[in-house]
């Protein structure tokens, strides 16, 4: 098992309503788990809801395997000006 942290932002927050704004969720996951598996199997968030999957601040593909200490942050489609 490895430990990663996850934050949910904007509309994705309703998947974990108990979390505070910007609250970091530490998770223990099997090593080799990729982002998609994290979403579908652990967080139960449909991957199609996630427009900006960021790992350590860089936008990543969903099949990227996670390593210990990764900081995962997820956004639905958002924009601003």
């Amino acid at each position: 098992m490895i430990e990663v942290t996850v934050t949910l932002n904007a509309g994705l927050r309703h998947y974990r309503s108990s979390l505070d704004v910007g609250e970091v969720m530490p998770l223990h996951i099997p090593s080799g788990t990729n982002l998609r598996e994290l979403l579908t199997q652990i967080l139960q968030i449909p991957p199609n809801q996630v427009a900006f999957p960021m790992v350590n601040g860089i936008k990543c593909a969903l099949d990227q395997p996670l390593v210990a200490g990764d900081r995962v942050a997820l956004w639905p489609p958002v924009a601003g000006g």
Binding site: A10, G11, G22, G57, I58, K59, P77, A79, G80, G81
Partner: protein, 610 residues
């Protein structure tokens, strides 16, 4: 018969107290569309760009687009154009709400205000009746107070654009405020209105905007309406979280400039994010005219030392008054934002100026006895105090009210000014977004993001994804789908925020049935290019050169921390290619051939004997 346009340009001379009406030349409308383009064209014919921005000759031009007030989605925009008091470039600040459409309903495409009044006045436009009235009783009032006072003095449903005390005291950060809270903020246009002693413009209009082919127009407009309401960004996140949904994302990317651009990651971003705003202080969202998105926040801080109520804060305001000053307290940031609204001053430039002062203070260049109090990064109370003093020009606020460029120069550290052409940069780090770096450097009104918001491509993938760090194709991307396209959109009267859901081409398709003029996609590309070049020529005549297409040294140095540590703004390599693509010579001047292609050849002589 005019369609889309009302055909009237109202000219008000505050010096002589005369009001006259002129007809819009359709050829000019075909070449420059309306709004930003048309008002810039009018400015060029009225005024020599080399003259002083605060001289009586500098006209203040309010312009609407042919789509403003038609009822197509988000057709609420009007622009304020003049030579900018803050920067000396051409200024074009724009705003939504209901004022722009009301000007059209009253029967005007544009309003040219020239001369200066000796005493405070306001302008009362009730359809075809126009009066210049004394405004002593309004002087010193906040915009919301001004609006309600004017509604009792004129018509109960009049729409009002005015200046706050910041504009009255000629703060170079001042904007024009309409509908109580909305600012045409940047470049210091409010200072010129204050210089003219014009407190406000109240409009009441009962007409409508005629359309040449209503059926065709409404088919397209209502299709657009449905597209926007089907879009997960426009109708999902934007509506729920407003522009502030970006705070956490941009910060996570390490592209959120912090403490006067000394870093690109702010540890307090979560406390000032769009999510925190929704959970903490949001009361309602509300909409501008005919807008399905409704991104405006109505918010209230109900407890603690920073109580207040108003609209916002928007993404840029949260950033400038928050991360840029190192402040991680949403209540304080909101309070500072509300104060900016009350005094009618630009939140971005105000925040950036205070951030610059903080750096000067921390590095010992700005003595505490001049400030009157310590002004450190992260000090929420000092921030709120400094904003209020800036609005009032009280104490050291008198220096802050002239913006960060003058402040940094005055204290011997021009390198602490984080902007270009005297205008402060916005909330996207040019170290990370290479397209934005080029945009900041080349934008005609200084380092602003909305003249070409390349983040759309570099993050959201609209119109196509180009990674932020990539250098290839950025020059062409900045030039055509962003700068030129934005010049076009700003000229039509539709809000730029629709472009997350609908395309340039769809906006084009509204113009022909609205106006009956030969507007089409190919021409729109040329029109955008023409407007951009006209603005450039204005700036060249005003004394700007390619030496002004620069970014601060600091952003050319590698970022020290965050996920993109080591990245830096790469500009020099782009500039020559950009000039070439624009049809400019190596010193950034449009070539004669380029001007002839755009029908701007009259400007060749004007510019080259200067």
């Amino acid at each position: 018969m005019y369609y889309g346009y009302t055909g009237n340009i109202l000219r008000v001379d505050l010096g002589t107290g005369t009001v006259s009406r002129e007809l819009l030349e359709l050829q000019m409308a075909e070449d420059f569309i309306g709004g930003r383009g048309l008002a810039s064209r009018l400015l060029c014919q009225e005024f020599d760009p080399a003259a002083d921005a605060l001289s009586p000759e500098n006209p203040l031009i309010f312009g609407t687009g042919p789509l403003t007030g038609t009822g197509a989605p988000a057709t609420s925009r009007y622009v304020v154009v003049c030579k900018a008091p803050l920067t000396g470039t051409i200024a074009c600040s724009n705003s939504g709400g209901f004022f722009g459409p009301e000007l059209k309903f009253a029967g005007y495409d544009a309003l040219i205000i020239q001369g200066e009044s000796a005493e405070p006045v306001y302008l009362w436009i009730d359809n075809r009746t126009v009066q210049i009235r004394p405004a002593e009783s309004l002087w010193g009032k906040f915009p919301t107070e001004t609006e309600s006072a004017l509604r009792s003095l004129t018509h109960p449903s009049a729409k009002v654009a005015c200046i706050g005390p910041g504009g009255e005291n000629l703060s170079l950060l001042a904007g024009v405020v309409n509908d109580g809270y909305r600012l045409a903020a940047r470049s210091g246009v409010g200072a010129l209105m204050g210089k003219k002693k014009l407190k406000a413009i109240a409009v009441h209009g009962t007409g409508s905007v005629s359309l040449q082919d209503p059926q065709q127009f409404w088919k397209a407009a209502l299709d657009m309406h449905q597209k926007i309401t089907a879009d997960p960004v426009s109708f999902g996140s934007f509506r729920a979280y407003g522009t502030a949904s970006l705070v956490s994302l941009i910060n996570e990317m390490g592209a959120y400039p912090t403490r006067n651009f000394q870093s690109d990651t702010f540890e307090g971003a979560a406390h000032t994010s769009g999510e925190a705003l929704v959970d903490g202080i949001l009361q309602r969202n509300r909409a501008c005219f005919a807008c399905p998105i409704a991104c405006t926040r109505v918010s209230e801080v109900k407890e603690g030392p920073y109580q207040g109520r108003g609209e916002g804060p928007e993404y840029e305001s949260i950033w400038a008054l928050g991360a840029l000053c190192g402040v991680a307290d949403l209540a304080a940031v909101s309070k500072a934002n509300f104060i900016c609204g009350d005094y009618g001053i630009d939140t971005i430039s105000t925040g950036a100026t205070i951030a610059c002062a903080m750096e000067l203070f921390e590095k010992g260049a700005l003595p505490e006895q001049e400030l009157g109090f310590p002004l450190r990064f992260g000090d929420a109370a000092a921030l709120v105090r400094a904003v209020e003093m800036t609005g009032k020009r009280e104490g050291f606020g008198d220096v802050l009210a002239d913006g960060s460029y003058r402040l940094a120069v005055r204290y011997g550290h021009p390198e602490f000014f984080m902007g270009a052409k005297k205008l402060e940069m916005s909330a996207y780090s040019p170290r990370v977004f290479q397209g934005m770096a080029l945009q900041y450097a080349t934008s005609n009104r200084g380092a602003c993001h909305v003249r070409g918001n390349t983040v759309a491509a570099e993050l959201y993938g609209i119109p196509r994804y180009l990674p932020p760090e990539a250098l290839e194709q950025k020059e062409e991307m900045v030039r055509r789908p962003f700068q030129n396209s934005t010049a076009f959109v700003d000229s039509t009267g539709i809000c730029l925020f629709t472009k997350f859901a609908i395309t340039h081409r769809e906006i084009c398709a509204l113009l022909a049935p609205a106006t009956g003029l030969d507007f089409n996609f190919d021409r729109s590309i040329e029109q955008g290019d023409r407007i951009w070049n006209l603005e450039r020529m204005f700036n060249l005549r005003a004394g700007f050169t390619c030496e002004d297409d620069r970014l601060p040294q600091r952003v050319s140095e590698p970022a020290v921390d965050g996920p993109r540590a080591g990245s830096r703004a790469i500009l020099q390599e782009h500039l020559q290619t950009y000039y070439l693509l624009r049809g400019w010579d190596e010193s950034g001047r449009p070539t004669r051939a380029k001007l002839e292609e755009l029908g701007l050849e009259d400007w060749w002589g004007v510019c080259n004997d200067a």
